[in-house]
């Protein structure tokens, strides 16, 4: 073979395997675009078919999406700062709904009031749910996760699963295993109508609470000292420590914010669906986690975006009538989506690509 091998000869012997990653990523992108095109076509067909239903379903998507967004941000904050999937987060959300129920309905009788009094009661309930869940999440971190911060990855993950069982079953101890529910709280009086579908307070309340919440969150994370400390700790814990940031507090802050959002999400859920149960957080938590991954785990905006996307997917699948798989397949669809993202594009829509090969 002589001294050294010529470039041309070497290229011709380059194993097929070296080409496969490049071909594969192009094929995957092409396939993804094709799928998106099909979905877009399907949506347009449905809209044309029955615009009223389409509008309603879209609003449902936005509603559910708001809840998923609120919960998803909690997952992403914790993952960003600890690289831990907080399995118990969905159950913090459940607690939010239950606390909202207790405060608003059991104690303050919201279902018997209206107008300004109702507004006041709901405001109190919102604050209680948010505060309770923030505290709960911080406590969980302090008790269960802090000691395992340097343990191999499996340990805190398993502990989180255990905490999830503890939290959800604790609800069952206090509230029982059945649904708690109440009469609808908000009036159905229409504020405006579109194509025969009326939209009143009851349908709009979710957006009205979520949007300001998300906006305040962005302000807190971007502008306040604690928000910056949290982001710094998420990027590089040791450097943050060297800069004088109290890392434990920054982590507690992340858990607190995430918990508060989950609590608000729980409140919103209760007000909109007027019911709650100990295992509410399981499926919602899983969907919210999918949303966080879809948007790019560690990215707050991504989590919100992912939340709304999941909300749309869920409701378009369940609610549209033209060639939709139907609600019995929703869970499978979303989990298949989760698996596909993790396998083909683990950094999600807005996350950064890690370029080491593994």
């Amino acid at each position: 073979m002589g001294t050294g091998v010529g470039t041309a000869a070497a290229s011709s012997r380059r194993p097929i395997l070296a080409l496969v990653p490049r071909i594969r990523s192009r094929a995957v992108t092409a396939l993804g675009i094709l799928l998106l095109g099909l979905v877009a076509f399907w949506l347009v067909e449905n809209a044309v078919h029955d615009i009223g239903q389409f509008g309603l379903v879209t609003l449902n998507g936005i509603t559910n999406g708001s809840i998923y967004a609120l919960v998803a941000i909690g997952y992403t904050l914790v993952y960003g700062i600890l690289e831990l999937i907080n399995f118990a987060h969905g159950d913090v959300f459940s607690w939010g709904a239950m606390i909202a129920y207790s405060v608003a309905i059991s104690w303050l009788g919201a279902d018997h009031h209206s107008g300004i009094e109702l507004f006041g009661i709901l405001a109190v309930a919102l604050l209680c749910a948010g505060a309770f869940c923030a505290t709960l999440n911080i406590a969980v971190e302090r008790v269960a996760y802090r000691r395992l911060r340097n343990a191999p990855r499996l340990a805190p993950l398993i502990t989180a699963i255990g905490m999830s069982f503890v939290l959800s079953n604790a609800i069952a101890v206090v509230y029982g295993f059945n649904y708690v529910s109440s009469e609808p709280l908000l009036s159905r009086r229409a504020l405006f109508t579109i194509e025969g579908q009326s939209y009143g307070w009851d349908k709009l309340i979710v957006l009205l609470i979520t949007v300001p919440t998300l906006m305040s969150l962005m302000v807190v994370v971007k502008r306040t000292r604690w928000g910056k400390a949290m982001r710094a700790t998420a990027q590089n814990r040791d450097a943050a420590r060297l800069m004088g940031i109290d890392v434990d507090r920054a982590i507690a802050f992340a858990f607190g914010i995430g918990g508060a959002l989950a609590g608000i999400g729980g409140f919103v859920y209760l007000v909109y669906f007027t019911q709650g149960r100990f295992d509410l957080g399981f499926q919602i938590g899983l969907f919210a986690f999918t949303a966080a991954v879809l948007g790019g785990i560690g990215n707050i905006l991504g989590a919100a975006l992912g939340g709304y996307l999941i909300g749309f997917i869920e409701n378009y699948n369940s609610g549209l009538t033209w060639h939709a798989p139907g609600p019995s397949w929703t869970e499978s669809l979303i989990f298949i989506l989760l698996i596909l993202i993790l396998v083909f594009r683990p950094h999600g829509l807005l996350g950064e690509e890690l370029s080491t090969r593994s």
Binding site: M1, G2, T3, G4, V5, T7, A10, S11, R13, R14, P15, L17, A18, L19, V20, P21, E352, E353, S355, T356, R357, S358
Partner: protein, 260 residues
């Protein structure tokens, strides 16, 4: 007919996002040589190693090993082709014994799979027995006392851990042995013994050796050729004397231990 160049790497470039870790490096190693790769921290030396072993894929460029293009091959295939390595921070399998660590190194040389292991066929039993004997031999060759063989790697003394790592790398039956800062933490006596060991191993086992080293005494003593990297680029190459006299190398490589 065997190629004179065991490793022929051309125009190797490695980017991590915006950071260029290796920039257009050409690098060759002759069969049977002992070559050192030096340079300040962050110069890209271990990144280069990782591309040779397949842990990283070069962003562009080619690597031909023993006549085969290895870019894009999975790590275990490259190991089977004949590249073995040790790590900068010792990466033994802590909860396995020293002997078992070396046996893992033999994974690509042993052949018993699931069914033969379940059935405990004569072939499998003989393979295990011979494998263990060979592993013991390798550990002794690397200077580990027989008592330490059954100890969990995590409990071994630092020096012994290094020995086990080398034995494990040798167990892969390599043509090319990559040693990443092998003398870190060694005292002068141990360093001299190690230099002798590298030469001995090269002769007796027909190895080619590529070292990453910070200790200039070792570099000067054992290498036939030295390549210097700085900020991902090759800034000098030649015999140890040529390289240590090079002005560019001296100015780049501050922190060199004085050659006493």
């Amino acid at each position: 007919m065997t190629a004179e160049l065991l490793v022929d790497a051309r125009a190797i470039r490695k980017e991590f996002g915006g950071l260029v870790a290796c920039n257009d490096i050409d690098f060759t190693v002759e069969r049977g040589a002992i070559v050192s790769l030096i340079g300040p921290n962050g110069a890209g030396k271990t990144t280069f190693f990782n591309m040779l072993t397949g842990a990283y894929t070069p962003t562009s460029g080619e690597i031909v090993f023993d006549g085969r293009d290895i870019v894009g091959l999975p790590q275990h295939k490259i190991t089977a082709l004949g590249i073995g390595r040790t790590f900068q921070n010792i990466r033994l399998f802590g909860a396995m014994t020293a002997l078992e660590n070396v046996l893992v190194g033999m994974h690509s040389r042993l052949r018993s799979g699931l069914f033969r292991s379940l059935a405990r066929t004569p072939l499998q039993r003989r393979e295990e027995k011979d494998g263990r004997a060979q592993a013991r031999e390798l550990l002794a060759y690397c200077g580990l006392s027989p008592r330490a063989e059954q100890q969990y790697a995590r409990h071994l003394a630092y020096g012994d851990q290094r020995r086990v790592e080398v034995a494990r790398a040798l167990a892969t039956n390599p043509k090319l042995l990559l040693l990443d800062e092998p003398t870190a933490g060694m005292n002068p006596k141990e360093t001299i013994a190690f230099v002798d060991f590298v030469r001995k191993a090269r002769e007796e086992r027909g190895l080619t050796v590529l070292l990453i080293e910070h200790d200039m005494r070792v570099v000067v003593e054992v290498s036939e050729r030295v390549t210097v990297l700085d900020y991902g680029e090759k800034i000098a190459e030649g015999t140890p004397d040529e390289v240590t006299a090079d002005e560019r190398v001296r100015s780049a490589y501050l922190g060199t231990k004085p050659v006493s």
